[in-house]
């Protein structure tokens, strides 16, 4: 069971709501994914309008609503938007995105940390989107982030976990959940992140623009579950040398009791 800020989640797949052909299709894909955590861009929704298309398609009783600050160029804008989200939606959960470069949408590490510090002080449960920088992850964690969300590759690229080495270090060091976000383009990428020990993955583009988004959502659900199962079962270490499936060393090790000293 995944727990973030004392809230349990039975699904380790988080999904985004952008890029879908319709809100109706988005809702069906989310249902098929089994996701309980759904991130929504505030720039896209009219929080003051309960009839907003995206909002009416999300069942807030079963789905945890995670507003994001997509579009914010600096800490100040992200904080403003977070306050708006909390006032209008009633949730203090926030996916913090500070992305000053509209082309790559890569996160600004300095302002992400600054905004996290401020928002935590204001009582937000902050899940910051970040580059896969292990020291930054530690700094965000110390600042009070409820989870960290390192990118696997730039948003929307479908390139998979290009940052695997850094993500492994982040996972190894973190005391808060690690959610691999961005770049996950195929169920196998999601499975890889989960096998590495990520606590969850967030997927949007790969589901939203698939030929059949509902079916793709199901595929991601299965992949995340398989990856987590494999991680918990304990994966073998890769080796360049062949080894027998019933190695002699095991027998030897078990029979070394006779050795003295």
């Amino acid at each position: 069971m995944l727990t973030i800020a004392e809230t349990p989640f039975s699904s380790r797949l988080f999904v985004g709501t952008g890029k879908f052909a319709s809100s109706e299709l988005m809702a069906r894909a989310i249902e098929a994914s089994g996701a309980q955590m759904v991130t929504v861009a505030l720039r896209r929704v009219d929080l003051n309008n309960p009839q907003d298309d995206i909002m009416t398609h999300l069942d807030r009783d079963t789905i945890h609503f995670l507003p994001n600050t997509s579009g914010a160029r600096n800490a100040e804008e992200a904080v403003r938007l977070a306050r708006l989200a909390r006032a209008a939606s009633g949730t203090n959960w926030l996916k913090l995105e500070v992305t000053p470069d509209p082309r790559t949408l890569l996160p600004d590490p300095v302002d992400t940390l600054k905004a996290t510090e401020q928002l935590v002080k204001e009582g937000f449960i902050v899940l910051p989107y970040m580059n896969a920088d292990p020291i930054l992850a530690l700094r965000l964690q110390d600042a009070g982030a409820a989870a960290v969300m390192p990118l696997g590759a730039p948003i929307g690229t479908n390139l998979g976990v290009q940052t695997a080495l850094q993500v492994e270090i982040i996972i190894e060091q973190a005391r808060v959940p690690v959610v691999v976000d961005a770049g996950i383009g195929a169920p196998s990428h999601a499975a890889q992140a989960m096998e590495m020990g990520a606590d969850a993955v967030l997927v949007n583009t790969a589901i939203a623009v698939a030929g059949d988004p509902v079916r793709m959502a199901r595929a991601f659900k299965a992949a995340v579950e398989a990856g987590r199962e494999a991680y918990e079962a304990g994966l073998g270490r890769p080796s360049r040398q062949a080894s027998a499936s019933s190695p002699q060393e095991g027998m030897l090790t078990e029979n070394l009791d006779f050795l003295q000293g």
Binding site: F20, A21, R44, A87, P102
Partner: protein, 391 residues
């Protein structure tokens, strides 16, 4: 961000003979190489714009569609222009607003502009583009600022397409709630530019060319560039657009950029296009720009006909205007007395309402997006503070 301050930091356009040399020498092999490349060079854009690429339009379309879907998803943004005035002190041979033309001239009062905006808001628009002719004395920054202050609370985003302003003026408008500026060079071919701009401040090619940089330096979120197709060689215009875009990206990395592709439309006056740009040419230009810059917003306005706009959905453009009227006060006239508009800039090619355009977008399997911004992103000094709930 820094404004270009010296000739060394200014964008300059190679002369069109040089650009023409680049596009005309490209071969089918060059086009194929460009389609395989991950990061395109300017020579690759030239190949995609070349006559050699004309026979490969389906391949270009497929690649453009693939990239557009990946970067923008199955969505199309929707906006409407709001014409504030057709007063204009320039004499531009091609434009319906040219000072030479005898058309009914007017400038909307603040109340009239507000009434027009309210009609658009009720129709479902959340992004509006404020447009005017160029008459700085009558349509100065004070007027634009006053309109922005009146409208900003009712729309997610306000853009302007007016006369070029200086950096301080753009900064003032940004502070008042304007987030985007569109300014088209009309033609990057200096020789043709001089020929079609007969008098007025617009004759200054360089001042106009530097306008996108001034707007970006002032902090505008988005800057739109474009060329008016029908004045000069469209392949060279495309290459100049690509060079301009790449230069702006390098100098203003925090700014979002868009490119528009207005083709000359029938308008007041007797101007005939200097070059013929077909729908196939326009498509090649759009596909080439998309492949060259996967993240640039591409705009297809109601200048084009509904058949063509529907066909292009998902293939490259990411933003459509809808239900447009190009005459100041035209939306109120619609409400009062039908379709008769005095003083249009040009006649539109797609006459559908926003509802009809959105329905067509949905039929093609896309989501029409009316809101993709929020005024909360802006630091508006006298904005009501957002309430912070008690801990």
């Amino acid at each position: 961000m820094t404004a270009p301050s010296s000739p060394q930091t200014r964008f300059t356009v190679p002369d069109f003979a040089t650009l023409k040399g680049l596009v005309s020498q490209a071969t089918v092999d060059d086009v194929q190489a460009a389609l395989r490349r991950e990061h395109l060079r300017i020579e690759d854009l030239a190949a995609l714009l070349s006559p050699a690429a004309e026979t490969m339009l389906p391949l270009l379309a497929a690649e453009s569609r693939r990239i557009t879907t990946l970067r923008f998803g199955r969505t199309t943004q929707i906006y409407a222009p709001l014409y504030l005035s057709n007063l204009c002190t320039n004499r531009c041979a091609y434009c319906g607003f040219s000072a030479d033309n005898r058309i009914a001239r007017r400038k909307l009062s603040l109340e009239e502009a507000e009434a027009e905006a309210e009609i658009l808001r009720k129709r479902g628009f959340q992004h509006i583009l404020l447009v005017s002719g160029e008459a700085p004395a009558a349509l100065g920054v004070d007027y634009l600022e006053a309109i922005a202050l009146r409208l900003r609370d009712r729309f997610a985003a306000l853009s302007i397409e007016v006369q070029p302003l200086n950096t301080e003026e753009y900064a003032r408008l940004f502070a008042a709630g304007i987030t985007a500026v569109a300014v088209y060079q009309e033609t990057y071919d200096r020789r043709v530019y001089d020929k079609v701009h007969l008098s007025g401040r617009k004759c200054d090619y360089d001042y106009r060319l530097e306008t996108p940089a001034r707007a970006a330096a002032a902090g505008m979120r988005e800057v739109g560039i474009g060329a008016l197709l029908g004045l000069a060689d469209w392949r060279c215009e495309g290459l100049a657009l690509g060079l301009h875009l790449a230069w702006l990206r390098k100098h203003f990395w925090k700014t979002n950029f868009t490119v528009s592709f207005p083709r000359l439309r029938p308008a007041a006056g007797s101007f005939e296009p200097l070059v013929h740009v077909t729908e196939a040419h326009l498509s090649q230009l759009i596909f080439a720009l998309r492949i060259f810059d996967p993240d640039v917003g591409l705009i297809l306005s109601t200048r084009e006909e509904e058949r063509y706009r529907d066909g292009m959905l998902g293939l490259g453009p990411t933003r459509y205007s809808a239900g447009s009227c190009t005459a100041p006060g035209g939306y109120s006239q619609d409400e009062e007395k039908g379709d008769h508009h005095d003083g249009e800039q040009f006649s539109v090619g797609d006459h559908r309402s926003i509802g009809e355009v959105c329905a067509a977008i949905r039929r093609k399997g896309f989501d029409p997006v009316c809101k993709d911004w929020d005024r909360e992103f802006q630091h508006l000094e006298d904005q009501e503070p957002v309430p912070v709930p008690a801990e």
